[in-house]
């Protein structure tokens, strides 16, 4: 065990290294590239042995190769971001149906258009219904630890599904934090070598994988099987999380809570901005407000029971969506509403906020305001429409850019 300052990307690479992965199909994309560069450098310098990396010509091919290799029975790691995840989306859905266990780290980045490098969660939420399980991280330590946990989850015979470990671009990918790197012996105890059993292509044991079906009945059968396997991942995750805590002393609940016990108003969100929410909770508590934070780490499967448990009896929930379902609003808001609607003791109001798109910061004042708006809605029962966070100063900045663009255009045409 040693402690180092690592970026989120380096932490992901360390996770793959400690998991003793056999195979890494890769394709560069900002802000993920440091992950595959780290692994490549370790292979070239001989620091890790027995790992083969192949740079493919696209993410679509990369995910196909990852699925193909996992279907042949090796431990596979891969990583991408944003447009890359979308470019490979056909294969994200496809390989999940192959029921092959492997781990993909996605470094979230806002989607075009406009094109940007900075983070939000529309990329990862586009993969929400694919069959990949999703673990969302908010610290660099979590990225490393979740990668190890993700292999146990993916490879468990009750699950057998690929897993995405998600972190935010820039805020985690390029931010150095102190990270404990577990020693390989402990990791081996937690995560023994992959035993693929029936996941094989071998001579004399013919297998037909991913065959066509005719009609809705066999189609539904296999889709339901995949869903039920994903649901199995809830109790399996709990076992894994206990085993991880036993060996490494760090516990990761499927649903993290912070100061929720006596809270009346709760922030509900995923990703690295949740660390800012914690800070805001502390300040609000200092001011005598009973505010807390609920942060699901596991988003697929959606741990509804655990979420209901921690939210029962709360007055209001401020759902902070770092994504935008255009024409609807926040994705998490709808997810949470479906988990709570009509349940005894469910919070009276869920107020929807859109924040942090394309890396836009969420200030402490905005957290205070969200708590206050939610508190008021809980009092009077009037739920405001989804709020798109934006400040007057920001609008002024954009107006300034527009003015510059206007002058530029006029200057060119004259």
């Amino acid at each position: 065990m040693k402690r180092m300052l690592l970026t989120g990307n380096a932490a992901a690479a360390w996770g793959a290294r400690l998991a003793n992965v056999d195979y890494v199909p890769a394709f560069p994309i900002t802000p993920q590239t440091e992950i595959i560069e780290s692994i490549s450098n370790w292979i070239d310098s001989g620091e890790i042995a027995g790992c083969r990396m192949v740079t493919m010509e696209s993410e679509h091919s990369m995910i196909t190769a990852a699925g193909g290799a996992a279907a042949a029975g090796v431990r596979v790691f891969t990583a991408t971001s944003s447009q890359g995840l979308l470019y490979g989306m056909e294969m994200i859905y496809t390989v999940a149906g192959w029921r092959v266990p492997f781990v993909l780290v996605n470094v979230s980045r806002g989607l075009a258009t406009p094109i940007t490098l900075e983070p939000d969660h529309n990329d990862i939420l586009a993969a929400r219904d694919s069959g990949f399980l999703q673990i969302h991280c908010s610290t660099c330590q979590e990225v490393l630890d979740s990668t190890l946990m993700a292999y146990r989850l993916a490879e468990d015979e009750r699950v057998r599904l690929p897993v995405i470990v998600n972190m935010d671009g820039f805020y985690l990918s390029f931010t150095r934090e102190p990270v404990v790197i577990p020693d390989p012996e402990s990791v081996n105890r937690f995560l023994p070598p992959f035993e693929p059993e029936n996941i094989r292509f071998l001579s004399g044991q013919p297998v037909s994988e991913a065959v066509a079906v005719l009609g809705g009945s066999p189609y539904s059968y296999f889709r339901y099987e995949t869903h039920l396997a994903a649901m199995n991942a809830i109790p399996v995750y709990e076992e894994i999380s206990k085993a991880f805590a036993d060996i490494f002393g760090r516990a990761y609940e499927a649903v993290e809570t912070y100061s929720t016990e006596d809270a009346e108003i709760v922030f509900f969100m995923i990703g690295s901005f949740a660390t800012k929410a914690r800070e805001a909770v502390d300040r609000l508590r200092d001011a005598g407000k009973r505010v807390g934070l609920v942060q699901p780490r596991l988003l697929r499967p959606f741990p509804e029971d655990a979420i209901r448990r921690v939210l029962t009896g709360k007055k209001g929930v401020a759902v902070i969506d770092q994504n935008l379902s255009v024409g609807k609003g926040g994705v998490l808001h709808a997810e949470l509403a479906s988990a709570l609607y009509g349940r005894h003791g469910a919070p009276r109001v869920l107020v929807s906020f859109i924040a942090g798109l394309g890396g836009r910061d969420i200030s402490p004042e905005e957290f205070y305001e969200m708590a206050s708006v939610t508190g008021k809605a809980a009092e009077d029962g009037k739920i405001p429409p989804p709020r798109l966070l934006y400040t007057a100063a920001e609008l002024k900045e954009v107006r300034k850019l527009q003015a510059v663009a206007h002058v530029e255009r006029k200057g060119r045409s004259s």
Partner: protein
């Protein structure tokens, strides 16, 4: 060099490995070539498939293959092959499986994928030196969806999306030359109607490691408009008229494995197919027929 295994038709395999009763159309030229190749490749193969007609071969819970199968997508079969090949190499290297448990990786794709959507993945797999056999069954159109024109459609052919009086206005893309420009270990054109030529090419391809690619012109009764019983005859005419040259690329050189002599008029080939009927009825389109013949003549003059 040792004597070739396939000297005469009698040397071709008499045991057929691909099961019958699949959902392919009667007279399918693609299925014919697959039969012939699979008989030689044997069941120690994993077929990695791209979306196309042949995707319907493995239909839960039935498969005509005695070996393994992996369907991928339309664009990325070569990438699936890369993953499977690399994984098997890793497993052998790490002694997790025995060398005799190894499988050959064979890609099965139509022209829709091979000439278009899957070309980038194919190009890159060749560039990486992937050890695979690649079979494109080329029925010169998006056959599985009802024969719309593809990048493999020949000039003047009528398809579901080129119904005008001159048929398809474009020209068939030269995929063989595109492959050859990558300098793969082996590339060849084949056709089911010439099984001996095919068997020799497969034998040669099997003796080499690296990217080995085959395009088979695959007559399609439904898409081309003819009675299924003429599939072999039309295939033979494609060779005899010189519109489908049989050739191979190896060691940096292109060699023709058959010179049609005397070369028949292309009309013999065209007039048997509904997709070219507009060249003959209601009246002969002399200009188009001449243009097609001239292209073939120019080809053979160039390689002659």
């Amino acid at each position: 060099m040792s004597d070739p295994v396939f000297k005469t038709m009698k040397d071709l395999p008499s045991v057929h490995l691909l099961g019958a009763g699949t959902s392919m159309c009667a007279g399918c030229g693609g299925l014919e070539i697959l039969h012939e190749i699979y008989d030689i490749m044997g069941e120690k193969t994993v077929v990695v498939n791209a979306a196309g007609c042949m995707t319907l071969l493995a239909n839960y819970p039935f498969t005509p293959f005695s070996g393994s199968w992996l369907y991928t997508s339309m664009a990325s079969a070569p990438a699936g092959a890369q993953g499977v090949r690399d994984a098997m190499d890793i497993l052998i290297e790490k002694k997790r499986i025995k060398p005799e448990e190894n499988l050959d990786v064979m890609i099965l794709t139509g022209d829709g994928a091979a000439y278009g959507m899957g070309l980038s993945a194919t190009s890159s797999a060749i560039e990486r030196g992937l050890d695979f056999l690649y079979l494109c069954y080329d029925n010169e159109g998006y056959g599985n969806t009802g024969q719309q024109y593809s990048e493999a459609t020949p000039h003047a052919a009528r398809t579901a999306t080129s119904r005008g009086p001159r048929g398809f206005l474009g020209y068939k893309k030269d995929l063989f030359d595109i492959w050859a420009a990558h300098r793969p270990a082996y590339a060849a054109t084949v056709i089911a109607a010439e099984p001996l030529d095919l068997a020799r090419k497969i034998e040669k391809a099997r003796s080499i490691k690296g990217p080995r690619l085959l395009i088979s012109l695959s007559p399609c009764p439904i898409g081309w408009g003819y009675d299924p019983k003429y599939s072999i005859e039309i295939g033979k005419l494609a060779v005899k008229t010189g519109i489908w040259p049989l050739k191979e690329y190896a060691d940096g050189k292109v060699v023709h494995t058959h010179f049609p002599h005397p070369r028949l008029s292309v009309e013999e080939y065209l007039r048997k197919q509904g997709r070219f009927a507009h060249l003959f009825r209601p009246e002969r389109n002399e200009a188009l027929l001449k243009e097609i013949q001239a292209m073939i003549d120019a080809y053979w003059e160039r390689v002659g």
